[in-house]
Structure formats: C-alpha cells, structure tokens
Symmetry: C7
Subunit: 109 residues, 7 copies
C-alpha cells in the first residue's frame, strides 16, 4: 500500500515551476499609482492588473501533424494578458499566474 504523500518532503531548496504545453507562468505586476503628465492618479480599484513578467514558458502546443509550436514569448518578457484568464498558483510564498499563450494579448517590447 502506498504511503500518504507529503508535499513538503519533496519540494525544498531551489525548485522551478515548469509549465506544460502552451502555458506560460507570469508574475503579475503590482498595482501602482498611475501618473499622467506628473499628476498622480489613484489606481482604479475595479481594474485588476493585466500586466506581468514571464517567469517560465512551456515547450509549446503540439499541432495535429505532431510538430510542436514554440511559444512566441520568452522568459523575462513583459506581457499584457486577458483579465480573468489563467489559474492562480501559490509557490514558496509567491503568487503566480499560469496562462495559456493564447491568453497573452501583447508583449511590451
């Protein structure tokens, strides 16, 4: 019989989260005060952050003919993504967002 599995024994030290398929792991940007022409505007509480930094990318999705399509974003990219898309993931005290690449709207080059 298999012993009950203890997650803490397994992850420890420096681990990395590796997303599967066409997924991308992001660290969402902190909401900040926005400035327009030097005037500080209070951030709009109703708008959730939709910008983030790419932490890790998957190997890409598999096409019907069996080839893999490499993701078009890379580690370190700053991206905009669809509000409400993705799965929140908590890992070693930080919060990340795992998105499918299709939910990334644009790269801030």
């Amino acid at each position: 019989m298999l012993k009950a599995f203890n997650f803490n024994e397994i992850i420890g030290g420096i681990n990395v989260l590796k997303p599967l398929g066409d997924r991308v792991i992001l660290q969402a940007a902190e909401e900040e005060e926005q400035t327009v022409g030097g005037i500080v505007l209070a951030s709009n509480a109703q708008e959730k952050p939709t910008t983030g930094k790419v932490i890790s990318v998957g190997e890409g999705r598999v096409l019907d003919n069996g080839t893999k399509v490499a993701p078009s974003v890379k580690e370190g990219d700053t991206v905009m993504f669809d509000k409400y898309a993705g799965t929140a993931v908590s890992y070693e005290g930080n919060d990340y967002l795992v998105l499918h690449e299709k939910d990334i709207v644009a790269v801030v080059d």
Copy 2:
C-alpha cells in the same frame, strides 16, 4: 525567493506594444459629428465607434500544418471592426483595443 515585481521599473522610455498571434492593436476613432450633404448631425450616442487605425499587427496565426498566415491588415490601415469585439488596453496614458484579425470586418482602402 523572487522579489515582488514592479512594472514601472521595466516599462519606460519609448516602448511598443506587440500583439501576439493573429491579434491587431487599434486606436479607436474619436466619435465626431457626422455630416450628410453639409448638414451636421449629432452623433448617435448609442453607437460606439467601430472604426480605428491599426497601430501594430501580430505575426499571424499558425495553421494546423505549422505554417503562419500573415495578417491581411497592416500598420496604418483604417479598419472597421465588430462592435463589442476585442480587449481594451491602457498603455502610457492612451487607450487601445486589441482585436483578433477575424473581428476586423473591412479595410477602408
């Protein structure tokens, strides 16, 4: 442990928004008074602008056989798009609309 990520440190200076896949970034036209035969008509408040100028285009969508289809609009094109389509994006004080190419109805040539 990863430090909290500050968006403002990263974007600064002259950045460009690069849409992903078959997406297109538009700047919606300002609603104006319409004239028919010289007579000024008040704009219909119920109709949202459905015309815009293409600011940036993605590399196109990937077909099932692995080839990319280049978008059929280009930077600078004036286009009409489906009302209610797309995602509003705010960037450096300007508002943009990110659309999938399929939501662009026609090009004003």
Copy 3:
C-alpha cells in the same frame, strides 16, 4: 505619445470598403410593393429585406492547408441572405451589411 486619431482626416475623397477574409459587403434592397399577377400587395412589415446587391468581396477564407478559397459570389451579384446575419456598417451616408459568405443563401442568377 501618440496623438488622438481623427477619423475624418483620414477618409476623404473616393474610398472603398474592402471586406476581410470570407466576408462580403452588400447593399440591402429597399422594401417595395410586391405584385402578383398585377395586383399590388403591401409589403409585409414583419419581414426584413433579405435580398441585396454585392458591393465588394473579400479574398476568401484560408483553409487549414494554407490555400485560399475564392468566394463564390462576385461584385454585382444579387443575393439572398439569412435574416439577422451580418453586421450593419454605415459609410459615407450609406448603410451596408457585411456578411460572411456562409450566410449568403442563394444567388439570383
């Protein structure tokens, strides 16, 4: 920073609307009195016009193997289309309807 974009400065003179992909631009027929055997019948107010004249056609849709399928209607064709299909578009004081080719039911040859 990008200047606010003024649509009126851009379109002017003789422009054409060019539909994208498998789209077709139609000018809907005016509702008229119908005659059967010389007797004039009042048009049925509940039936919206479903006949139109093709003004412009797109380049066709792209198949999964990358080839384009040319539309099977052409400029000048009179067509019948699904009621409720399409997007109304207003351009230089005229109203048009932009439809996907699949919403065109038949050509009146």
Copy 4:
C-alpha cells in the same frame, strides 16, 4: 455616392435561384389528406410537411484539403428533411425552403 439600389429593376424575366455551397432549394409538398387502405385520414395539423422536391442544388461544400464534395441529391429528387431546418425564401410569388444538405434525411427513390 452610391445610388439607392432597387431590387425590382434587377430581377425580372426568368431568373433562377442558385443556392450556395452545400445548400439545396426545395419546394415543400402541400399537405394532403392521407389514405391508408382507401380510408381518408385528415392530415395531422400538428405535423408540418417534411417532404419536398429539389428545385436547385449548390456546388457542394469545400473540404479542409480544398476539394469540393458534390451534393448527393439532384434536381427533381423528392426528399425528406428535418422539421424546423432551413430558411424560408419567397421568390416570384412562390415559397421555397433553403436547406443545408446535412438536413436532408432521406431521398424517396
């Protein structure tokens, strides 16, 4: 500026309705009294006619590999079709039904 388009000027004389793609144009059968062994039965008012005669057929649908599949019914065939399928079309005083071939259930050979 484009002139308003008058449908009556365009169709006149002997025109034919040509369905697009995998569509078929039918003339629905008139509901009649049904006879079983010589006894006349009143037609069931709740059942709409589901039999018709093929007036015209489209060129067939385009497969993903670009080839056309010719329709499996032909002009003059008597067919049964799914109740509620299709679009009613009125043309020169007659009522027709435009169906996708997939909504034709069987041919009465």
Copy 5:
C-alpha cells in the same frame, strides 16, 4: 412560375427511402412482454424501445480527406440505439426512425 407541387403524384407504387450520408433507417421493435426464466413480466411503460431492424443505410460520411467511410451496419441487422436519438419518419403508413450511425450503440449479432 412554378406550379404548386403535389407530393402524391410523385410517390406511388413501390418506393424506397434512401438515407443520406451516415444515416440509417430503422424499424423500431414492438414493445413486448419480457420473459425471464419463463415468467412473463409486463413491459416497463417508461422505457421506450431501443432496438430496431436496419431497413436501409446511407453511403457513409465523407472524411476531411475526401474519402467515404462505409457504414458498419447493413440492411437486416438488429441494432440497439440511444433512446431519444433520431428523427421519426412516416412513410406509406409505417413509422421509421432515421438515425446517424454514431447513435447506434451495438449490433445484436
């Protein structure tokens, strides 16, 4: 102008119903008393018959590569099918059921 079409003039004598595509025409089994070990059980009124005899089969569905897949049932087979599947069709005083082959669950060999 096309004359009104009279269905009775067209079908007469010995006709056959030919299903289209991947369709199969069945004659549903009459509900009977069920016997288990010689004891007659009243049929369960809540269960509709799900067994039938194949009367006629279509030529099969067309794959995306253009080839036809011959149906895996044949005339005369006794089959079980999904309750609620199919379209009831009345023809020359008999009731039939037209099903897509995918709604046939098993053949009673």
Copy 6:
C-alpha cells in the same frame, strides 16, 4: 407494405452484443462491502459502481485520415470508468453499460 417487425423472432439462442466504433460493453461490478485492514465497512450508498469487466469491444474509431484506431482495452479487462458515463442496455436478462472508450479512465492491470 412492410410487416410490423417482431424483435423476439429475431434474437434467440446465443447472441452477442457487438458495440459500434469506439464503444465498449461492460458488466458493472456489484457493490460489495469494502474492507480496510480487516474491518468491514458498509458500502457508501451515494457512490455508484465505477468498476466493470469488459465484455466486448468495438473496432475502434476512424481518424480523419481514414485509419482505424484499435481500442486500448480488450475483452476481460477490469476497468474504471467515469460515473454517469455510458448508456445502460438490458439484454437477455442482464444489464450492461455501453461506453465510449474515452470514458474509460484506467485499466486495473
């Protein structure tokens, strides 16, 4: 005119149920008392059996390129399946479950 069809005349003697396509016929396991470390636990009435024995398998599904994929379970396998999946079928006094192969979760090897 076709005679009314009597199911009992046709099936008789030793018949087999042959599932179509990617279907599998199972005999669901009887719910039993569960024992953990020798202690008998009453079965949980809210959990329906999700284990069964494969009685018969279809020839497999047809891919878009026309080839058949043989099922990955075989007669005699003990399998676990999605609760609520499948169609209950009664045949010669026994109850079976007809499932699509995709609804089989695991094989107990």
Copy 7:
C-alpha cells in the same frame, strides 16, 4: 447467460492502475500548514490541494494523423493541476485523482 460479476474475485494481490490515453494518475498532496518567514499560517480551508505526485501515466493521445503523443510528465513528477479537474478514484484504500494531461498546469522540477 453470463454470471453476475464479482469485482473482489478479480482484483487481489498487487495490482496497478493503468490510465488510458492522455490520462495521468496522481496522489494529491496532504494539506499542510504553510510557513512564510518562519510564521506558521493555518491552511486556508477554502483552497483544495492542487499539488500531487504522478503515480502512473497513460500512453498518450492519438493525433488525427494516427501517431501517439507521449505525455510530458512521468512517474514520480510533482505537478500542479487545475482545481476541480479530474475524477476521484478509490483503489485499495487509497484515493487517487485521474486527470487529463491538459489539466496539469506545471511540473515542480
């Protein structure tokens, strides 16, 4: 007539669960107290465990061209998965979760 089938006679001794297709069998991690900077936080009762250890993987899904895509996780991997995804399975006194590979979000490398 087939005898009623008794599941306990069949599974006994050391059996393995073998998932089908693109499925993966996981043992979910036990919820533990989380520590941030040495301070023990009570686990959030509203968050269900979303981390697990891969016990067994299927042979992978079959593409439309007939080839199999090997899963990108392997036995022993620690993975994060979509909350609410998968089917709970009880086997020899242990609880497992059977997931489609697409519901695995990331591997903790």
